[in-house]
């Protein structure tokens, strides 16, 4: 396992924890789905992104996250910019 893969795995674990906190009814998080597809409304999505930015020490405008198409790309986005 490369360090990058390890980071992606760790990031995905945190994404799953945060999504579960905010959307307790969601048990399965397929990588190809958008947060909207998991039932997150606009408030939920912003709350999830804020929690992830805080956890990984990521500084980025919300518009950058709006362009991320699915959970896999969200994980990659966070892994690239994580400062922790």
């Amino acid at each position: 396992m490369t360090s990058t893969q390890s980071t992606h795995s760790e990031v995905f674990t945190v994404v799953r924890e945060v999504v579960s906190d905010i959307l307790p009814e969601v048990t399965d998080i397929p990588g190809h789905k958008h947060l909207k597809d998991l039932g997150a409304d606009s408030v939920d999505r912003v709350e999830i992104i804020l929690a992830l930015m805080d956890h990984f020490g990521v500084q980025a405008p919300m518009s950058d996250f709006s362009a991320v198409p699915d959970v896999d790309r969200l994980v990659a986005f966070l892994a690239e910019r994580s400062t922790r």
Partner: protein, 409 residues
């Protein structure tokens, strides 16, 4: 001790149900639940920021003795946008409330935060002791000019004013002087670039609200020894653009303080936050009066059998925010009950979507500076006359040579 001596809100004479507004605009009915609202106050064209301010403050001023009324030496109005680029809303309000000519008045603006900034400065001024016995009247007042372009924000917009009398007997809320936290920075999350419409970047606005809530609480905790978000505040009162965002903010703060279980989060929300949402859920976003509408809701809805500490979060787009606190209790409940806020909200008249559209078409011109304009309140008598036991209040009748005109009726 310095605090809020008296509080009242005026939220107009008409309302539309939120499902009716969703139906009329063709919005997804599945999203009604997100707003956690059932009704929205709708302004009539014979109302404007001046009439709302006067009608909110009038019962407070009327209950004062001549000596107490003369001790109001500061009058501040807070609006999303004034009715003139120079002349303040406060100048009209001062006249129609009959306040002393030895009173300073002016207007402030910082979206939905403005009134809190004015109240905090007034509290510091009064607590300094440089003018013993003085009072300050701060009135947050607005009208809604949003239309279908605002999409899901339109059914959440409110209409009305909150009047807050600050003095040295904080019966409604005794301030924890010196206990406050701020978080502010420049962002364009929403704005009113023209007097006829608002713009909003929804994601940026939600982000800024939640970001400011966490950071203003953190700033408060850095200044107040031993302050703990979970145990220091018996109740929480927050700026309420719609209750779904308040719920998210509460959930976020709890998660940051180690509370994650959905059952525990829901129970804390019901206990500490829900009483503050009763009035906002039938009025909508009252802009800078929103947090004070929520405070009135808490005091009228929660049992309050003993003194309790309340944490208040005020947020205004752009953005500036503050978390502060104070003590309320049974005496506040008794005093606020004399205003009959819940009864007045229940007496508003329901209008349908077509009546709403007709009012909105005229309301969108309310803030546009024009030399002359006629508004005939008699045209709205079919609605005004259906408000049970309506007392004489100030109505907007038009503009003559840029001078706004009002009449009691």
């Amino acid at each position: 001790m310095t605090g809020i001596e008296a509080l009242n809100v005026h939220c107009g004479y008409a309302y539309a149900t939120v499902p009716e507004l969703f139906r009329g605009r063709g919005l997804d009915p599945g999203r009604v639940e997100n707003l956690m609202m059932t009704r929205r106050s709708i302004g009539l064209p014979c109302e404007d920021p001046v009439t709302n301010a006067v009608n909110a403050a009038l019962p407070i001023v009327a209950a004062l003795s001549d000596e107490e009324r003369a001790s109001i030496e500061v009058l501040v109005t807070s609006t999303e946008s004034g009715v003139d680029l120079s002349k303040s809303v406060a100048s009209y309000v001062h006249e129609y409330l009959g306040l002393s000519r030895n009173c300073r008045f002016f207007e402030v603006k910082q979206a939905c935060y403005g009134a809190t900034g004015a109240i905090q400065l007034a509290a510091g001024y009064l607590a300094s002791g440089i003018s013993p016995g003085a009072k300050a009247l701060v009135i947050a007042t607005d009208v809604a000019v949003v239309d279908e372009h605002a999409e899901y924000s339109e059914p959440a917009a409110g209409h009305g004013a909150a009047a807050v009398l600050v003095g040295d007997e904080g019966t409604i809320l005794e301030f924890d002087l010196g206990a406050f936290g701020n978080y502010s920075y420049e962002t364009l999350d929403s704005a009113r670039p023209e007097p006829t419409f608002d713009i909003a970047d929804v994601d940026r606005s939600l982000f800024a609200y939640l970001d400011c809530f966490s950071n203003s609480v953190a700033d408060y905790r850095s200044k107040v020894d031993g302050a703990d978000f979970m145990t220091t505040f018996d109740h929480l009162v927050m700026h309420t653009p719609f209750a779904g965002l308040v719920k998210a903010g509460h959930r976020k703060l709890l998660r940051e303080h180690g509370v994650r279980g959905p059952g525990e989060v829901a129970a804390d929300f019901e206990r500490r936050v829900a009483p503050s949402l009763v009035y906002p859920s039938v009025v909508g976003n009252l802009c800078s009066g929103s947090v004070y509408l929520a405070l009135a809701s808490l005091i009228d809805s929660a049992p309050l059998t003993e003194p309790v500490r309340v944490g208040l979060f005020s947020y205004g787009s752009g953005c500036s925010s503050e978390f502060f606190s104070g003590i309320t209790g049974p005496a506040a409940k008794d005093k606020l009950a004399t205003m009959g806020i819940g009864e007045r909200l229940a007496k508003r008249v329901e209008i349908d979507f077509d009546q709403y559209l007709a009012a909105l078409a005229v309301n969108k011109q309310c803030l546009v500076p024009v030399p002359d304009r006629d508004i005939d309140p008699a045209g709205y008598a079919p609605i005004l006359d259906r408000v049970p036991d309506r007392k004489e209040q100030l109505l907007f009748t038009g503009v003559r040579e840029y001078h706004r005109q009002y009449a009691w009726g």
